[in-house]
Each structure stands twice: as structure tokens, then as C-alpha cells.
Symmetry: C2
Subunit: 395 residues, 2 copies
Amino acid sequence: MEVSKRIKRLTESPIRKLIPVSDQVKKQGVHVYHLNIGQPDIQTPQAFYQAIGDFNQPVLAYANSRGILPLREAYKAYYKRAGLSFSTEELLVTNGGSEALLFALMTICDPGDQVLVPEPFYTNYNAFALAGDIEIVPIPTNRDTGFSLPSKESIEALITPKTRAILVSNPGNPTGKVLDADEMKLLKNMVIDHELFLIADEVYREFVYGGAWRSFAEFTELSENLIVVDSVSKRYSACGARIGVLASKNALFIKETLKLCQGRLCVPTLEQIGSVELLRDTDTTLPPMIEEYQLRRDVMTDMLKKIPGVKYHCPEGAFYMIIELPVADAEDFVRWMLGEFQDQGETVMVSPAKDFYKTPGRGISEVRISYVLKKEDLIRAMEILKLALDAYQAK
Amino acid sequence: MEVSKRIKRLTESPIRKLIPVSDQVKKQGVHVYHLNIGQPDIQTPQAFYQAIGDFNQPVLAYANSRGILPLREAYKAYYKRAGLSFSTEELLVTNGGSEALLFALMTICDPGDQVLVPEPFYTNYNAFALAGDIEIVPIPTNRDTGFSLPSKESIEALITPKTRAILVSNPGNPTGKVLDADEMKLLKNMVIDHELFLIADEVYREFVYGGAWRSFAEFTELSENLIVVDSVSKRYSACGARIGVLASKNALFIKETLKLCQGRLCVPTLEQIGSVELLRDTDTTLPPMIEEYQLRRDVMTDMLKKIPGVKYHCPEGAFYMIIELPVADAEDFVRWMLGEFQDQGETVMVSPAKDFYKTPGRGISEVRISYVLKKEDLIRAMEILKLALDAYQAK
């Protein structure tokens, strides 16, 4: 009984594949600092739980396939506060940003079609693309140039008749790169000139340090080309809610994607009701959260400076960094540090970065770190990383 | 800006596509009896809400991609009570039965592969198949023979080198057909002989009237071939929870499907916590529910007997019926009944059956009815249907 070729081509999530090892050492009493996954330690707003607790209908029924109207209205109001305009008819609620990405790719790509993605990229883009037999074509970016986009010409050289879209995470996961005004304009003009879709994964939209954030939805001339992917996970520290949204002014895209939404019937009713409350309040909850992440970023870079041989680019947004370690094979090191190394009963889990690249040979000495823990934990985790590197190199 | 060919091939859900019409007439004050969708009116157990209300962790974090262990343990215990054996490692929690079906198809089929499905079939199978560019090959069944499977030879004649699986809903949606022992044995032997997967959609498992239910999981010789799709939606009247499960003893299938589970990160945490409580109790909650549906089925057949020109087969399970109406185009009639007909401010919504068939020309005069409302509502809905048919024919 064989499985499909497409599923065999898909690698295990580098963010999650070492969980069995981490479960094992935790059973032995080791404390693990989880910097492998973008799971913030920040409290989920109480209003979310409150609204769900207040639900008092006797039957937990199917919801509208588009998403419940109050949630689409709350998203519309959130966008309006952010200076962006989407009507409730231009929004589809999804099972997290994940389903939003999967559906967007399915609606615009046939098997064999191509999507350009700046590399390194969020590894799960591979899962969504491979499920639909869609090819991700990497746009290589480098730490030395702060993960900036390469020249217009070199991106255009990657466009073929099979290219259907450019997919970009901004602020970027796993790099923390925030596109500057010129880069945004470059991508905007390129999708218009080549009649491509632009899938803008903006789940970290406001997570920009030391500068104003920008959204591709500000470009009104992009209306037909733009598909925005959003989620409550990071912005409201509600990762387990699995509530996302697709926003687009392309009526055909929304109409066709609705068929997929109807196919899976609906998104959980209670989580939608809770998320309405989350979206009411971004102006008071977000600024302290952003400030906290900026502090954490600064702690990270301060600590990393003290580890010999480590190379990184200071991220401008989101809460990830790609870090080059002074080891030949970062996955071997990460596995060893998690499974065999400990300092005073503690160790650290990070994600090997190789699978965030599609180009063979890239990222082998790198890891992705999520700075989602509080300052003291980050300091201690970086101390452990330093000790682990010393011990690994001395092996 | 064009969309994909695959999405254009997908038709809108016949169960949900008339919702805009129904919303419109409801705004005008018309009461609509919803027999279009399998949304029971039976109360969701209070224990579900209670467990969610008791959740008191400050951060709503990502869950394990396989599903939280307590839920997999609760499923294991549910199966054990039912005489079926699945370990927690043989289970993957999914976003409803919908995602279970989508993932199963993706894991075993490449683009262009084929899956045999008895026809008429649950229309959303089309959405899952088309998303993965997989071809559904119908096994025609007929009302005259109670939607029984055709001969072994005629099913085998449909098998090609591209065939990867047989997918069957048992008890059946939209027919209410329950496979008898010979039919189950036929499918079991066929998948073993031809090295196919058997995807058994058993979300209505216990909904069998006047006989004992059977599961394909009883056949121990099927272990490598069998993939069971399950859900809490119907069994516990918790459709809005969107909690399903994939159960299989094929370790490779589970291992590979886990990649897709990791790709979408996890299923909502709270809904999983609530569902643990649902699964604790099937022995006391289910028998009265089954009894109620049997009563409703009997009410339906009694009422349908009184409508001239209507043809149906008395369903043995689930809560659906395929009904042939004395009209040339059932979709035109359904649309007219919903949008333009009313009796004392009330009308009825059913699903046109054409899209439950893949074979062109089949099901054009048929509708699917879900008998998910209480007795008095069903009686009134069938009265309205009779009046509407009279008025439509007199037009």
C-alpha cells in the first residue's frame, strides 16, 4: 500500500519534527526553552474566553461558510482603523492563516503552476503548495544584504508562462525582514505588469520595530491582483483559535474560493464568536505587545553578539531570526542539543533552517529562532546555546 | 486575472448555494424549514460547553498537530466500547470529517489518480477531490434496487491502473443506504485483491434503523487498506465544533498524513477539549437520538406516500433521502419553491440532487432531503412541499 508521490516529496515540518525528542527529554525532567515555534507566551485577551463562555444557544450549529457576519464585520472595522478598506463581501474567514494560504493557492493555481517566494520562506508554504501540486520557485535573498529583494531583472528572470503569483510574508517569517517602500513598489508593479496575483501574508502586519508598518492593501491599483492572508494567532496571542481570513477585492477570486469554503462547510462557531471580541481592540493591546517584542529582539541581538562564530541580521519585524551557527550541520547540532545536552537540567529547542530553503545546499548551518519568550528566558536560552555550541565543538 | 481550471470545474455546493435566496425571503419575514442541510435540531450536550468554560490557561496555545492526547484517548475509548481497536498513535484529529477526507485523498492520490465512489454521493467529495486534481469515478446505484451496490464484475470493470481507493459513506449520505454484510465483504475483498485503499466515511455509524450497525474496522484483515473517517458533528449534534478524526492501522499512511497536519499546525484547542467530554458518553445519549431519527424517517415516508408522483426508497440509516419529484428540473422547482412560493408565510428548502451525481443526466428530477427537524416541522414541511408541487405543476 503506497502513498502518493506528492506526500513523499513533502518534508516533515522542521518546526515540529523534533517534538518527539523534546517530549522524551521533558519526561526525564529536563526543562526545554521552546524557541522553535512561534508560540508567544503573552496572555490571550480575557474577552475571547468571556464571549465563548457567554454562548448559550442549545445547538452548536454549522456557521456560514464565509464566516459569521459579526466576525467579518469586526475584521472590516479592524481594517478600517488601520486605514485599509475591505467590505464584508470581500472577506472569507478561514481555519487559520494556514487554510487561507491553501485555499488561495488552490483557487489560482493548477497542478504544475508556479509561485515565486522570497527565500528563506515559511516552511509550511511547501505543504500547501505540494498538496495542490504547485511549484514554489524561490527568489533567493541573503543575510548579508538584510534579506532584501534582489533586482527587478533577476526576479523577472524567474517568471515563466506557468507563474501565477508572488507570495510574500511581510514582515517576514523566518527572517524578520520588513519590505521597504521601494521593495513593495517593485512587487506591486511586477504583479500588475505580468498579470500575476500577489499573495501578501501579513499575519505579523503591526510587528515592526522602529518604523511604521505598511500593507500591500494600501495600493488601490492592486485591487484585482491582491490577496491578503491574515490571522488572529500572533496579533492577539491566540494561536490555538485557528481563525484566519482571506481579504481580496477580486470578486471572482472570492466567489470561486467560496466553493472551497462550502466544501469544508464552516470554521468553528465558538472560535469565531471569541475572535469578534479580539478584533474590537487592537489600539490598546498591540502597542505594549510590539514594545515587548522589540525589547526581546534587542535582548536577542545583545546575547548573540557574545557567542563566537554566530552570524545574524538584526530583524526589523515579526519575531523570528535566521542565525548562522559555527557548525557544519545545524540539524545535527539542534538534535544533539535537545536530546543530549543540558545545563542544570535545562536545554533549548530551535528549528533547523534547511527546510526554510528550497534551493539545495542553502541554510544547512542555520537555525530559525522565535523570540517568543520573556526576557529572562531568552537570556538563559542564549546562555545555554553558547554552552551547547562550546560542548558540541569540543566533541 | 484568471482563476485555476480546477476551481472552475468545481460546482457550488447544492446544499448551500441557495442560501442567498433563503436569506432574502427570511428578510421578508418568511419562515424557512431547512431540510437542505444535515444540521440537526437536537441539543448539543452541556458537557461540551462546560469543559470549554472551565478552560483556564492564560495562553490559548497551538495544540499537538496529531490532536491533543486526551481527545485521542477519548476516541480510542469510544472505539473500544464499540468493539473496534485503534491506539492513540493510529488516530489524527482533523478539522471535521471534511479535512479528514481531504487529507486522506491527498496522502494516497497524485493528480490524475482515481477514486471509486458509489453514486449518488456526498457532493463535497467533489471539492476535496478537485482540490487535489483527483478524479472521482462513480459506481452507479439506483433507487429501484435500494441503492445497493452493483455486481462485483461491474465494479471491477471500473478499476484502472490509476485507481487508488474506494470511498464509501456508510450509512450513506445522501441515500440513507446501509451496506449489508455481503456488500461490505465485497468491498473488503476487492480492496485487498486490487491493493486499493478503502476510505470508510462512517460519520453516521450508529444511525441505523431496525438493525445492528457494522463498521469496516471490524475486518482485521483490512488493517493496511482501511482509512476510517469520523466526526463528532452528527453523533453528538455538534456540527459547529468541526472536530473529526482519521483512524488507520496503516502506519505509513498516518506518518505521511501527519506532514499535512503539521502543515496546518493544529485543530482548535478549545473545541478539542469540549469534544473529549462528548466522546465519554455515547451509550446514554445515542439510543434516544437514534430512536428520534427513526421516528422522523417514518414520519417522512408516511407523508411522502401522500404526495402524488413522488418516488423514494425508505432509508435504512443516516438522516437523508433521495426523492424523485414529478418535475422536469428539480433545481428550478427548488429555487421557485424557496424564492417565490409560500403557504401562510412558510416555505421549505431542500437540496437539488443533480450535483450529488457525477454521471451527466442523473438526478435532474431529484432532491435530497435531510430529516433533521422535529416531527411536527417535518409534517408541516411535507404539507408545504405537496402544495408547492401542485402550484408549480399548475403554473
